[in-house]
C-alpha cells in the first residue's frame, strides 16, 4: 500500500465558534488502495502548517507504506529537523501520524486500540474542561461548570489561561473562581485547577496549599513549562498531585521533565507530541517511572478520538481524560462532521469498534465546514 496524497484543510465546524483562533486543521491522507485516513491539529497557524504538511512533509512520504508509521515518522523528523525540534514540526507530523494510524487500523480491519495492543476499557470517563479564567468572574466560570454538570459530567477542570506573560497577575481572584466552583460541586465531584504556567514557585505553593485544603483533584501547570527545578519544589511542597507536560514536544523533553521536575502526573498532548507514535513513547517512559498519565486534549474531534484510543490501552489509565468543545464548535456541529460521531454521554465516551480511530468524514458536512472557513 502506498500514500498517494496528503492534504491539510482548515475548517470551521459551524458559525458559532467560541474563539476565532480555534480552527481545526484536518489532514487527509489517501492511498493507492482507496483507504483514507484523517488526522487533525489546531489550525491556529494554518497558513504555515498547511504548506508544511502538504508541500514539505507530503513529498517525503508519498510512495511510502502508511502502515510503516514509525518509518514515516523518522523520515519526516530527520529531514525537517531545522524546522524543529518540536513546534510546528511535531504538530504537523502529529496530525499526519494520526491519519496513518487510522489507515493502518482500517487496512487491518481493526479498531485503533486493538492495533495498539488492546483496550483495557472502551467506556472511558472524561472531564469537563473550561478555560479563560483570567478574563472571567467567579460567576461566569461557575456558569461554565454548571453547563458541564447539566450535561452529566462529574469531573471538572477550570483553566486560568494566564501563561507566563501574566505571571502572578491576580492569585486572589483565581481562588475566588475556585471557591465558587468548589462550593457548587458536591464533595465527590472532582475539581482540578490549571494555572496554565501563570505562577512563580512561592505563589504556586501558597495557592496549592489553599486548594488542597478545600478539595483539589490535581494542580496543573503551576509554573512556566520550562521551570523543571521550580516544579520539583512545588511537587515536594504539596500533597495534591501536581501535573505538567502539555507543552512538551519530544521524548527527550519528557525525560528531563520527569527526571528533574518529577511531576506526579504527566500530560502529553497528542498533536504537540507528534501523534500516536510520539505519544505512545511518552506513555512508555511514564510507565518506566511509574507516572500516571492524564493526556492534555481539550479537542472534541479527531485528536480526542485518537488520544482516547491510545489511552484505552493503558492498564493504569483510570483517571478521566480531558474533553472540551471550546476549541471546535458545539457538540452537534462536531458530531455532524462525521458519518458516525464519538461524543460523550453522562461524562463517559464509548469508543466504537469501527476500524481505525472511528471517525470518518461526512463529505457534505466537510465541504460546508471548509466553506464556512
Amino acid at each position: 500500500m502506498k500514500i498517494t496524497s496528503v492534504t491539510a484543510t482548515p475548517i470551521r465546524f459551524s458559525s458559532d465558534n467560541v474563539s476565532s483562533s480555534s480552527v481545526p486543521l484536518i489532514v487527509r491522507v489517501q492511498t493507492d488502495e482507496g483507504i483514507e485516513g484523517v488526522g487533525e491539529c489546531s489550525g491556529r497557524y494554518w497558513q504555515s502548517l498547511k504548506p508544511f504538511i502538504e508541500d514539505i512533509a507530503g513529498p517525503l512520504i508519498i510512495g511510502m507504506d502508511p502502515r510503516d508509521t514509525q518509518t514515516v515518522w523518522d523520515a519526516v523528523w530527520t529531514e525537517t529537523k531545522s524546522l524543529g525540534p518540536g513546534g510546528l514540526q511535531s504538530t504537523g507530523m502529529g496530525a499526519i501520524d494520526v491519519a496513518l494510524w487510522d489507515i493502518a487500523g482500517k487496512a487491518a480491519n481493526l479498531p485503533l486500540y486493538t492495533l495498539l495492543g488492546g483496550a483495557v476499557r472502551t467506556h472511558i470517563p472524561v472531564y469537563w474542561s473550561s478555560g479563560l479564567g483570567w478574563q472571567r468572574t467567579p460567576d461566569e466560570m461557575l456558569d461554565r461548570v454548571k453547563e458541564g454538570w447539566d450535561l452529566g459530567y462529574r469531573a471538572f477542570k477550570i483553566r486560568m489561561d494566564w501563561y507566563n506573560n501574566r505571571l502572578d497577575s491576580d492569585p486572589a481572584k483565581d481562588m475566588r473562581l475556585f471557591d465558587a466552583c468548589r462550593n457548587f460541586l458536591p464533595d465527590d465531584a472532582a475539581l482540578s485547577f490549571d494555572a496554565n504556567n501563570g505562577y512563580t514557585v512561592s505563589t504556586a505553593i501558597q495557592q496549592g496549599r489553599y486548594m488542597e485544603g478545600q478539595g483539589l483533584t490535581h494542580f496543573e501547570e503551576p509554573l512556566p513549562q520550562y521551570d523543571y527545578l521550580g516544579l520539583k519544589q512545588v511537587v515536594e511542597a504539596l500533597s495534591v498531585p501536581v501535573s505538567s507536560g502539555e507543552n512538551e514536544r519530544s521524548l527527550y523533553n519528557f525525560r528531563d521533565m520527569i527526571t528533574i521536575g518529577d511531576p506526579d502526573i504527566v500530560q502529553p498532548d497528542i498533536a504537540m507530541a507528534g501523534g500516536i507514535t510520539g505519544l505512545r513513547k511518552v506513555y512508555t517512559l511514564c510507565e518506566a517511572y511509574n507516572k500516571p498519565m492524564m493526556p492534555h486534549c481539550p479537542s472534541a474531534g479527531i485528536s480526542s478520538a485518537a488520544s482516547l484510543n491510545l489511552y484505552a490501552t493503558y492498564q493504569h489509565a483510570v483517571r478521566p481524560h480531558e474533553y472540551s468543545y471550546e476549541f471546535s464548535g458545539s457538540l452537534d456541529a462536531v458530531a455532524g462532521l462525521f458519518q458516525e460521531s464519538i461524543i460523550p454521554e453522562n461524562g463517559f465516551i464509548d469508543l466504537p469498534d469501527r476500524p481505525g480511530h472511528g471517525l470518518v468524514l461526512d463529505e457534505d458536512a466537510f465541504k460546508r465546514a471548509e466553506a464556512a472557513f
Binding site: T71, L110, L251, Y252, F254, T284, L285, E287, A288, T313
Partner: protein
C-alpha cells in the same frame, strides 16, 4: 478471534516451542529456552494458558497485562517473564499473520530489512552442552578455530564470549588478554571484534583489562561485572573510552530504568526472551531512545529468538550496529533450522527479513513431532 490452545513443546535443538492456536485457524509460535522445560511447560500450558485462552491474540498488551499480575509471585522476572515472552511472541505472530503483514510492518515499519549480524562464540557453552569436549576449549588456538568457522560463513563482525560468570570472578585476566589478542590477530583490522566477560570481573580488574582491550581494538566491552553491580558499572563506564555494554540479564522495564540511571552503560542489550517478549522489548527500546542509548540486543539463538529480535531491531531507526547471532546454542545451523518450513539464515554476515506474514518462521508439524523431547 480467540486463542483456543496453548502448547509448550521442548525441541531437541534447544528451544521450548510455544504454539498458540485460534478459532480462525491461524497459528502462532514463540519460544523460550528448553533448559528448564519441565518447570516451564506446566506454567505455560496450565497457568498462563488458562489466562489467555479465550482472549483475542491481537490484544497483545492486554494479554501481557493479564498474565503479569496474577503470576507475579513466580517473578517478577525469571521464569515468569520467559514464559510470558514465548506466549507474547506467538500472539504477535498471529496478529501480523491475520493482518497479512510481516511482523516488522505490523509493528510500525522497518528502517531496514537487510541487517548485519555478528558471530558470537564462547568457551563454556559447548563444553556444558556436550558434557565436555576434547582438550581445553579456551585456548587461543581453540578460539581461533571458532572464529574461523564464522569467518568462513561470511561474517565480518565477531564477539568472543568468555563466560566466566560471577562465580569465577577474576580467574585468569592475563589469559583473557591472550585469548582476545589471538582472535584479533587472526581476524585482522577489517573485522569488528568485541569481548564479553559475562559478569566475570571485579571493578578494578574490569578497568585494568578494559584499558588494555581498548588499545587492542575491542569494538565493545560486554558485561564486565556481575549484572547487579550498577554502581560499579558506572565506574567502569567512566574510566574507559570504548563502549561498555550490559542488559542481557535484566528482566523488566524498571530494571532497565535503574541500570541506565545508575550504571549508565553506553549500549543496552535487552534479550527478547528474558524481558518477556516483543511487548516489553519495544518499551525498553523506547526507554533507551529517551536516554540516547544505542541498543544491541542479546539474542544468540538461531531460531525464533534471533528472527523476532531482528524484526524488532529493524524498526529502530538508530539500530545500525550488527545484531548478535549464533547457532552454538542450537547444536549447529542444521539443527536450528530443520523444524521450520523456511528458515531465516544469515548470508555473508547479513540477515534479510522476509516479507512473509508474521515473524516468518512456520513450524512443520511432523518435524516438531520428530524432534520433541517430551514424549
Amino acid at each position: 478471534m480467540k486463542i483456543t490452545s496453548v502448547e509448550a513443546i521442548p525441541i531437541e535443538s534447544g528451544p521450548l516451542l510455544v504454539r498458540l492456536r485460534t478459532d480462525e485457524g491461524i497459528e502462532g509460535i514463540g519460544e523460550a529456552q528448553a533448559r528448564y522445560w519441565k518447570s516451564m511447560k506446566p506454567f505455560i500450558e496450565e497457568d498462563l494458558g488458562s489466562i489467555v485462552i479465550g482472549m483475542d491474540p491481537r490484544d497483545t498488551q492486554l494479554i501481557w497485562d493479564a498474565m503479569f499480575p496474577p503470576t507475579k509471585w513466580i517473578g517478577p522476572g525469571g521464569m515468569q517473564m520467559i514464559c510470558m515472552g514465548a506466549i507474547d511472541i506467538a500472539c504477535w505472530d498471529i496478529a501480523a499473520k491475520s493482518a497479512s503483514q510481516p511482523l516488522h510492518r505490523y509493528m510500525s515499519g522497518a528502517a531496514r530489512t537487510h541487517l548485519p549480524v555478528y558471530w558470537s562464540t564462547g568457551i563454556a557453552w559447548q563444553a556444558r552442552a556436550t558434557g565436555g569436549v576434547e582438550g581445553d576449549p579456551g585456548t587461543p588456538e581453540a578460539l581461533i578455530e571458532r572464529m574461523r568457522e564464522g569467518r568462513e560463513a561470511g561474517f565480518t563482525a565477531f564477539k568472543l564470549r568468555l563466560e566466566w560468570m560471577h562465580q569465577r570472578q577474576d580467574v585468569d585476566p592475563e589469559g583473557d588478554l591472550a585469548r582476545f589478542k589471538a582472535c584479533k590477530e587472526f581476524l585482522g583490522d577489517e573485522c569488528r571484534l568485541s569481548i564479553d566477560i559475562n559478569n566475570g570481573y571485579s571493578v578494578s580488574t574490569a578497568i585494568e583489562q578494559g584499558l588494555k582491550l581498548q588499545d587492542m581494538g575491542a569494538a565493545h566491552y560486554e558485561e564486565p561485572l556481575p549484572q547487579y553491580d550498577y554502581a560499579g558499572l558506572k565506574q567502569v563506564v567512566d574510566a574507559l573510552d570504548m563502549p561498555v555494554t550490559s542488559g542481557e540479564l535484566e528482566h523488566t522495564l524498571w530494571n532497565f530504568r535503574d541500570l541506565i540511571e545508575i550504571g549508565d552503560p553506553d549500549i543496552l542489550q535487552p534479550d527478547l526472551l528474558f524481558v518477556g517478549g516483543i511487548t516489553p522489548l519495544r518499551k525498553i527500546f523506547t526507554l533507551c531512545e529517551a536516554f540516547n542509548k544505542p541498543v544491541l540486543p542479546h539474542g544468540p539463538g538461531a531460531g525464533i529468538q534471533n528472527a523476532v529480535s531482528l524484526h524488532v531491531f529493524s524498526t529502530q531507526v538508530n539500530a545500525t550496529l550488527p545484531h548478535e547471532y549464533s547457532w552454538e546454542f542450537n547444536g549447529g545451523l542444521e539443527n536450528a533450522t530443520r523444524i521450520y518450513e523456511e528458515a531465516i539464515v544469515p548470508k555473508d554476515g547479513f540477515v534479510d527479513l522476509p516479507d512473509r506474514p508474521g515473524h516468518g518462521l512456520v513450524a512443520v508439524g511432523e518435524a516438531v513431532e520428530a524432534y520433541r523431547i517430551d514424549k
